[in-house]
Structure formats: C-alpha cells, structure tokens
Amino acid sequence: MSDELALVLESLRETALAVAPIAVILVVFQRFVLRRHLVDLRRIVVGFVFVVVGMAVFLTGLQEALFPLGRVMAEQLTSPELIGVDPALATWSDYWWVYVFGAAIGFATTLAEPALIAVAIKAAEVSAGTINAWGLRISVAIGVAIGIAVGCLRIVTGGPLPVYIISGYVVVALLSWKAPSPILALAFDTGGVTTSTVTVPLVAALGLGLATTIPDRSPLVDGFGLIAFASLFPMVTVLVHAHLATRRARHAHIPQEA
C-alpha cells in the first residue's frame, strides 16, 4: 500500500508542477492587469485542489492498471502467433482483430477523456440543452474509433500518411462548406481534445506493436500518425451528426406546415 501511496505522491508532485505555471499566469494577470478580486475565491481554491488531486489519482490509476494491460494486449494482438500467418506473407485482412480492437479501445478511451468531458459540459451549457453532452461525446468516440481503425490499416498496408490526412482535410473542408453549422467551431475543437491523457498512450502502444511486427515498417516513422487519424475523424463524425440532426429536424417540421 505504501508503494501506491508513493506513486500517488509522485504523481501529485508532477501534476502540481504542471499546473503551477498556469496558476502563476492567472494570478499575475488577475492581480496586476485586471486588478479585481475573483468572485468566491474559496470555492476556486478548493476546486483547484480537486483538479490537482483528481488528476494525480486518475493518472496513477491509469499508469498502474490500465496502461500496462493495454500495452500487453496491443503486443499480443499484433504478434505473429495471434495473426496465425507468417508476417511476410500476411495480407491486410489477416490483421482484422487489430482493427476491431483499435476501434473498440479508441471508442472506449475517448469516453473517459477528461478534456472532452469538459468541452461537452460547456457545449451543453451554452447551447441551452440543444446539444446533449453525452451525444456529442459518443459522436466524437465513433470518430476516434473509425480513425484508429483506418490508421491501423494504413500501417499494415503502408500507404503514405500525408495522402490519407490531406484527403481527410478535403472531406472536412467540403463538409464545412456544404453543410454550414452553428457548431462548426465546436466540431473543429473536438479534433484537438479527443486525444490526450487516456487515448494517446494506449493508441501509441498499438501503433508501435503493429509497426514492429510488420516487416519493412519502422516503429519510429510508421508508429507515428495514429494520433493524427484520431484527431481527424471526430471532426467528420461531429459535422455529419450535426448535419443529419438538422435535416431530421427540418423533415419533421415540413408535414406540420403542410
């Protein structure tokens, strides 16, 4: 138990160090530029303690339990024994469990991503309830799932990363032009928040495992790039979701007018 406590304390120190510069900036600008007192300072201080302690306990739990297990699973799933075929002869379809696992773990880790929870709560708040926080998080998670699966497929087939990503940008650009939406800025934001504390370590382990197993792939070069896929597809799924919701609302409305 004392080992766990030591880990939590170490994690607490790291989190406090990461939050300290932010706190300094906030205090300096509040005190010397805005020269106003924060409303309800006591609650804010308690809240900051909650954030730091919460992050430290959360990260310790992830590092102690979930990350090692996830890494072992990623290694096992990409190992030649499970694929059942000599890697030199395997085709892209022999790795189908990897795509399924990548999609499932991408979906699941996205739902536990604290930054996305924050953005979803804020979006629900400012939209006065027209955006459902849980619905938004599920659309984003579906996007990450598709992104990781496609990203794994790219590592297996060895296609050039920029071609995939730039094609994705073209789709996002067309969607944002053809289907203008009040949540366009929110959709762009979801690309950046999906991949952080929970998703990145597990997804990176999967990419590394794949690139190591498959002949002629460099873990250093091909292992990268999965995160980029996971940031790209949520923008697509959130925009498509918003577009469908608008259309559905419009279609539901027409018979009433007629």
Partner: protein, 266 residues
C-alpha cells in the same frame, strides 16, 4: 434543498450551491460525480474484458492491482470534474469578463499568448514527442547523433511548439473579438499544412501531425474553452456557441506547421 437526481453531464447550467463548507463540497463529489465516472470508465473495462476472454483467451495477470487502479481512475475523474466546475470554468469566465470590461485588446492578447505558451512548454506529452523527434532526426542524419545535439534539438522543438500554441490562442481570441470566419481560418490552416508537407523532410511529417493532437492538456482545455465562451458572451453581437469555441482547433493546427518548419530549419 431539493434532492438532486440529475446526472452529472446533464446538469450543465445548474449553479453550485454557495456557502457550503469544504466538507459539503467533498461529499458532493461522491454523491454526484462517482456514478458518472463509473459510466465513463465502464466501456474500457468491457473492451479489455471482451478481448481478454474471447480473443486472447488468457487470464488477466494481477487482477487485484487492476481493480485498485480502476477505483483510483473513477475517484480521480470524479474529483477532476468537480474541480472543473468549481475552479477552471469560473476562472476562465471571470478572466474573460474582466478583460472584456477592461476593453484592452493588447492585454488580452498578452494573456492569451502567455496562457498558450506556459501550458504547452511544460506539457509531459510534448516532452515525450520532442524526445522521439530528436531520435528520428539523429537517425536520419539531420543532426549529429550525440546526447547534446539531441537535447538541444528537443528543447528547440518544445519552444517552437509552445510559441505556436501561444500564437494560436492569440489568433483564436482575435477571431472572437473581430468576428473572423472560422471556416476560412481553419481551411487556410489546412492549406498551410498541405504546402508545408510538400516541402518538409518526410521523417518529420508524422511527428508534426501527431504534435497537433498532444499539445492541448487536460487543464488547458477547460480554461481556454471557458475563456472563449466567456469572451463571446460578453462581446455584443457574438454568440457563445458559434463564436466561443475554436480556440483548441487553432492550437491543434499551428503546431503541425511549426514543427514541419522546425524540421526544415533545424
């Protein structure tokens, strides 16, 4: 006080009751947020259990430790979400209102840059990516394969990314004030990424694309989001939903361009 039966993610607009003691704040976490955190973690548990039982057909080593870890994740997440509502959101909003009242764009720009730069430069995920990028560069012969050369390459990269995130928050804040089109800015950014991809060394491209995703940390995102939404709601003619978001989007885009530029110059 009426019993609160709402779920955590659904009770967005609800104000925190004021004046409760610290004990009340702590017990509040366990009443409201633990159930939500269990729901957030459950999908991971199900995916891991399914693949262990059905595909890998192996027992899970060290079940006890994993259960302890999962409980820590749930408790930590519940505390974080409560702290979000108590501190990060109100601070971001109050700062936004303060700057709007002061009416000084210059100070707001300085604050936006400082926030973006400081939160990024110490980001652990970025430190890891920078170290890997230095390995790639040393392997490819772009820099000398020595400890010192790699360290200075990694530090330079971190500063580059931190500056790019600072600039991104500045552009995002100016967009909210001036009402620039997010479509034009983001698609313009994509064109920039495309052009840089064509001329940047191939080895750096994958790292640059990933750098976009890792720069925005868990503490930065709620603060910056609350700042944007707060600014958009305090400036006449701006809508918090359509104009308040987008700061994170810029912060994910500029590092890609800056990292590729760094790969060409360094």
């Amino acid at each position: 006080m009426a019993p609160d039966v709402e779920t955590r993610h659904g009770d967005a607009g609800r104000a925190e009751p004021r004046g409760r003691g610290v004990v009340g704040l702590v017990t509040g976490v366990f009443r409201h947020d633990v159930a939500g955190s269990v729901r957030d973690l459950l999908p991971i548990v199900l995916v891991v259990a399914f693949f262990q039982a059905v595909v890998l057909r192996q027992g899970i080593p060290g079940v006890g430790r994993i259960v302890v870890g999962a409980v820590a994740v749930v408790v930590g997440l519940a505390l974080f979400v409560r702290g979000l509502r108590l501190a990060l959101f109100p601070v971001g909003e109050q700062m936004a209102f303060g700057f709007a009242r002061k009416g000084s764009t210059a100070w707001l720009v300085a604050f936006a840059f400082a926030l973006g730069f400081t939160t990024t430069v110490a980001e652990p995920a970025l430190i890891a990516v920078a170290a890997e990028a230095a390995d790639v560069a040393a392997l490819g012969g772009a820099i000398a394969d020595s400890e010192a050369a790699r360290a200075s390459y990694a530090t330079g990269l971190r500063l580059t990314v931190a500056v790019s995130v600072g600039l991104a928050i500045v552009v995002g804040v100016l967009r909210i004030i001036r009402g620039w089109s997010i479509r034009v800015l983001i698609i313009g950014g994509y064109v920039g990424v495309l052009l840089m991809t064509l001329v940047a060394p191939a080895d750096i491209v994958g790292i640059a694309y990933d750098a976009g995703g890792v720069t925005t940390s868990t503490v930065t995102v709620p603060l910056v989001t609350a700042l944007g939404v707060g600014l958009a709601s305090s400036i006449r003619g701006r809508n918090p939903l359509t104009d308040g978001f987008g700061l994170i989007a810029f912060a994910s885009l500029t590092p890609m361009m800056f990292v590729m530029a760094y790969g060409m110059v360094a």
